[in-house]
């Protein structure tokens, strides 16, 4: 694996930018805590996305200017945000009614593991002694129309994150539609992982080598 792990591929920003291209104008989007939040920086020209944060705001805007933060205007990651024109506040039951009721178009989440059948593990290592914390991840994958995962292709120790079946506790079964990694864009299909696009300069064989399940190459 020594050779392959030197393949870096897309940066996080490039991953976010690539993912943003696949979001239709007018979409209602929930961006998970962490890397997925970067997507908001790369909205393609001419499109508007409306961001939902599950703690009760639709129309979330960027971080506030220095000194203008309200400690009670935060996102799901508990970071200070703003509210765009046309936004709305609501309580938690209404917020998750949006999620569970299929009203959101897209959820972008990080992942520990994605299985070839779309199973997702992103909330717990299952290690004894760990403090379990699930937040809204299970609700999002169960309710939102499309689920995109945005993640490094491998773990920090070089293990594949795209696998035949998850060894970590699941967040949901068969819920992932598409995966954006630093190496490729990969669909989850009834036939398993299907490469949609490779990072320029990255070979299919390299990606396959770093993936724990069979990949189907992009059709020409």
């Amino acid at each position: 694996m020594t050779q392959q792990t030197q393949v870096t591929g897309w940066t996080r920003e490039e991953m976010a930018q690539r993912l943003a291209q696949d979001i239709a104008n007018g979409s209602y989007v929930n961006l998970g805590i962490g890397i997925p939040e970067l997507v908001a920086k790369f909205v393609p020209e001419g499109r508007t996305f409306i961001y939902h944060t599950e703690n009760g705001l639709l129309g979330m805007g960027p971080s506030p200017a220095e000194g203008e933060a309200d400690p009670e205007l935060i996102n799901a990651g508990k970071r200070h945000v703003t509210a765009n024109p046309g936004s709305a506040y609501f309580h938690h039951a209404d917020s998750f009614a949006m999620i569970r009721g299929g009203h959101l178009d897209l959820s972008v989440l990080g992942a520990m593991q994605i299985a070839q059948n779309g199973d997702l593990a992103n909330w717990s290592t299952g290690k004894p002694g760990a403090i379990p914390a699930v937040g809204g991840a299970m609700d999002l994958v169960a309710g939102v129309k499309q689920v995109f995962v945005m993640t490094q292709h491998c773990t920090k120790t070089g293990d594949p994150k795209l696998v035949e079946s998850c060894s970590y506790p699941l967040t949901g079964r068969g819920v992932v539609d598409r995966v954006y990694t630093n190496l490729a864009v990969i669909d989850v299909t009834p036939d398993g992982f299907q490469v949609v696009e490779l990072c320029p300069g990255v070979e299919f064989e390299t990606v396959q080598e770093l993936t724990g399940a069979p990949l189907r190459p992009a059709s020409e």
């Binding site: 104008n25 409306i50 936004s87 009721g101």
Partner: protein, 236 residues
């Protein structure tokens, strides 16, 4: 740029197909989207299932839609109102089927449909004729019925103020079923007395967030059933 405005009621309801299920807001005349209903009458769709608390008055609005023999099933809690003669005739004739649902169960079924809850238990109607055929279950020694979430292809509702993102405010008790019907339909169509730009409605006071709304049409001076009936109107 997001703009859910449509030009007029006719355009708003143009794609409603025969056989559609349609939630229609209103409690009596309060909140009844008369202009949208009249546009639907003009449009011609038939074999409709209508989910609404009442069945309309006189021969305008919802009652007029029924009178045109366009509704083959009604799901409602109270199909009798002052001046309500249209529905009783269609019901007795057997043209329009009735699913009678207690008002709170109707509201909760609609809310559940919109919230992705397929079914829930309620104490309402236990031991009554409306419990017939329904699953009964005890929790903590009390009896409950299983009720199912209700969704629809369309909802037609009336707001007071909207913005182009679909955020809505209502007028007093005209709010009634509209916010939950907006949640429970695939396509929610709103008539509002004024449609503003995003940012003109305080986000703290939005009643229906725009995510639940698909189309907004401005009807600046909506009619009321009682006024039309007093004026002797029979639509169309």
């Amino acid at each position: 740029m997001i703009n859910k405005r449509v030009l007029n009621p006719a355009e708003a309801v143009a794609d409603i197909a025969d056989g559609s299920s349609i939630m229609i807001g209103g409690f009596g005349e309060a909140g009844s989207p008369i202009e949208l209903i009249h546009a639907l009458i003009d449009q011609g769709a038939s074999d409709l299932t209508v989910i609404s608390n009442n069945t309309g008055s006189g021969e305008v609005g919802l009652a007029a839609l029924l009178k045109e023999r366009r509704v083959t099933k009604v799901i409602c809690s109270f199909p009798k109102t002052l001046n309500s003669t249209v529905f009783p005739e269609l019901y007795r004739e057997g043209f329009t089927e009735l699913e009678l649902v207690p008002q709170g169960t109707l509201a909760e079924r609609i809310r559940a449909g919109g919230a992705g809850v397929p079914a829930f238990y309620t104490p309402t109607a236990v031991g009554t004729p409306l419990a017939e055929g329904k699953e009964f279950r005890e929790f903590n020694g009390r009896g409950y019925l299983l009720e199912h979430g209700l969704t629809a292809d369309y909802s037609l509702i009336k707001g007071l103020t909207a913005d182009s993102h679909g955020n809505l405010l209502y007028n007093k008790t005209a709010r009634n079923f509209a916010p939950i019907m907006a949640m429970a339909a695939d396509v929610t169509i709103v008539q509002a007395a004024s449609v503003l730009e995003p940012g003109e409605i305080d986000p703290e006071i939005v009643v229906t967030p725009g995510i639940f709304v698909d189309r907004v049409v401005e009807v600046a001076d909506p009619a009321y059933e009682s006024e039309l009936i007093a004026a002797g109107v029979s639509y169309p």
